[in-house]
């Protein structure tokens, strides 16, 4: 019993999407649910990589160290996160059923 505009309608709307769903584990094919998991992992990985215990590995008190390792590390992680997000958002976006 599905009245018009029933919540389940949204589920049904994912139909054509799942048709596009690719075989997981096959090279060059994507599984949307894996992408969504990756989207969840990304900020968590970012948080972990930017937590003090890891940052402290790069701390130094040598005044002649030149480019401070911890600063280089932080900006490196930052750039990496942006690249991953760029890659992920374009794919998630294609697979999403948003308006």
């Amino acid at each position: 019993m599905n009245p018009p505009g029933h919540p389940l309608k949204d589920r049904a709307a994912t139909g054509p999407v799942s048709k596009e769903a690719k075989v997981p584990g096959v090279k060059g094919h994507r599984d949307p649910s894996k992408l969504r998991d990756a989207a969840l992992i990304l900020p968590i990985a970012g948080i972990l990589l930017l937590m003090p215990p890891i940052l402290s590995l790069f701390e130094t008190d040598d005044p002649d160290a030149g480019g401070p390792p911890v600063a280089i590390y932080v900006f490196g992680v930052w750039a990496l996160l942006i690249c991953c997000s760029f890659w992920l958002s374009r794919r998630l976006y294609r697979d999403s059923d948003d308006r």
């Binding site: 008190d61 002649d64 930052w78 997000s85 308006r99």
Partner: protein, 892 residues
Amino acid sequence: MISANLIVFISLFYVALLFGVAWYGDRQAKQGGGAWLRSPITYTLSLSVYCTGWTFYGAVGSAVRNGLEFATIYLGPTLVFIGWWWFIRKVVRIGRNHRITSIADMLSSRFGKSNTVAVVATIAAVIAATPYIALQLQSVTLSFEAIVGGSERLDTTVAFWAATGMAAFTILFGTRSLDENERHYGVVAAIAAEAVIKLIALIAVGLFAIYGISGGLQDVVDNAARALPSLQEISPPRWVTLLFLAGAAIICLPRQFHVTVVENSSERHVATASWLFPCYLFLTSIFVLPIAIAGTSTMPAGSNPDLFVLTLPLSNDNDALAIFAFIGGFSSATSMVIVSTIALSTMVSNHIVAPLSMWFLSQQGTGRSGDVLRVLLNTRRISIGLILTLGFVYFRFTGGSDALASIGLIAFCGVAQFLPSLVAGVTWQGATRSGALAGLIGGFLVWCYTLLLPSFEGTLIMSADAVAHGPFGIEMLKPQGLFGAQDIDPLVHATVWSIGLNTVLLILVSLATRQSILERLQSALFVNAFRSEPAYAMGLVQRSAASEDLFILAQRILGAGTAKTMFDSAAREQGKLTGLPDATPNFISRLEQELAGSVGAASAHAMVNQTSGGGTISLDALMEIADEAARLMATTKALELKSQEAERTAAQLRAANQRLRLLDSQKDEFLSQVSHELRTPMASIRSFAEILESTPELDDASRGRFAGIIQSESVRLTRLLNDILDLKFLEDDAQRIPSHAIDAERSVDKALEVTEGTLADSPARIVQGRRCGQAQVYANSDRLAQVFINLLSNAIQHNASDTPVITVETRKDTNTYFVEISDNGSGVSATDRDRIFEKMVRGEKSRGVGLGLPISRQIVRSFGGDIELIDRDGPGATFRVTLPLHTPDEAP
């Protein structure tokens, strides 16, 4: 030195340019053009209203004072935006579904369209924004003083005129109309332009610092550690706290909520912003470093690092760049103030003034078209002025002596109080209105006490002495060291206590209180934003009203034109060509949502209820929605179980199928062998019969011989058929051979008798070995004799020896009877050993059908015994028949 007049002139020119952009954007949007206004790039640029005067000037100051810590302010939002799929996307979807106008509206709508929640959130937001707006005024003043080389004392007239100008711009472009979606294309266009300008200005100064002051990129990197030793280390508690506060601020700051959620025109824009906005922040932050390094290396000691962006070009006589930097800073400050005041004035007018004015106007008794609209627009204009005034007053009170970053952080911690309610609101259906209120109020009061009041340094409410030693000298209540905490960073201290108390209160009070029905509906719609259709929930609230009254209400709020368009389209949808639409519950809910887009959910709900006289929510329908998630989960679970069951059945079917295939192939093999076996005697019978028929001259001897052959072949045929029938019968009905307690030795004797009778003219002989004499078994004596005959004749027939000798021995132990029949033939070859008991298999060199052994085994097994081929020393084969002995008192 640059003259003040020139700076004022340039600033005015820049502001005029901004007005032009805003006006052009508004006009484009109104004409339906301006796709660029709704592009993801414009959306992302408008998000960068996050980078205010604090960023433009304060980030460098912060980098000089606290090293790498400045980056957390931009890393926090980066982390939130790269996780857009899980949080921002949901908030944006809810915002669109429910026509949310501000963060206070969001919380109020979620917690049962409660006006109390909206009022508390509005007051909190205004108070938290005040120091932040003051910060912008301070940064404009500081930069102006720096560039014209004014006195050390901060000139408040600059701040005053800056505030006035910003108020004018905001009032002009931010409150032109009550847009049904609360979108301001002109303003967005202006802040997007400002975003570009401030980024380019900062990068320009950064490049100047690298190549104009330091000796290139390599030099900057080499000097980094020496110039800024603080870059080498971080303070863990502050680092984590700042990451958290910045991450919370990017969605909880009223202006960020406004640009991210309210001004959003497509969820797809969020996808682009998820990497482009972090990119913007990254660029901003990375150019802060060379400026900070060049500043500390070249500027005289004691100069304000907050102003390095400006003073570096100035002291190197690059006036043009200095002016450009000034404009960049000015852009940062103005865009923040404009969007903040729009967001805050919307909250004030929707949540504080709208309910009051509705009451006031209903007292007057006259309802003129657009009167509420006018009141609200005027309220917004007044609130914009008031909010800027508050900021100005704060700026004067605190004297603007603080570092820019620390003022901004006070505001961050204040707005972070929205986070627990916001997160719980969209993820936890059980969060209640009372819980949210308790959390908000508790957290907010702690923030005021531990962070905001101490920032006045004794000029407001608390004396300096009370801040330093606790009110009335009670050390335990020291604002910056509650319960005797010592040597803890005030920001970390305030964040932990306020957010901690906020969250705990939210959870505990939510668990202890109950939701109203409307709250349950809203919580289900919010938490299941991706699953439930808002349109479905529309008809849930059962209300009735006169269409005329609704039309009047809509006219008062939306204005005559908009109201008429909306009612006309609704009437057409209902199939009416003229007149007003029927006031169905669905239509009333839709109208409420349209109004919510202008005055907020709580006010719209109250107004519509005033006209329609309250209403009831169909409980059944509500339960259906509220339990949607639970039901879906149950369904999924059931499906999972079913599919597991189906899988098991399929596996069983597969196994059965495999067995059937095997049996089928065995049957085919059997049939082909049987037909082959049947054909041989048939062929000889037929050919001899033909000879007899076609050659009548045949002599008697031959005729007799042929008839003999025909007869013997017929007998063989009959026996074969009998065997097949036997086998069939035994396989079908093995248990039904009529059995009695018999003496098995007698069956052996009978078999020997019969067999010896056939041996008359054969060299073979049968030797009787040891016999046990008597053995009681439960069997059928004829069948048992048949088995022994079979074994004996096999032994004779398949014996290649010239003088076949068959030995028969019997014995028994306590409960088993053994019969062993051995011969002196060549034995059974290893390959045949395993197969001789299968149907239609014969020894390699033997004749015969090969049904004897399988039949015999079948018979013996039906009596509970077995036949096996046993190993024995010497030549020949030995078959052993075992049968269980029968004790008379034992039932079979």
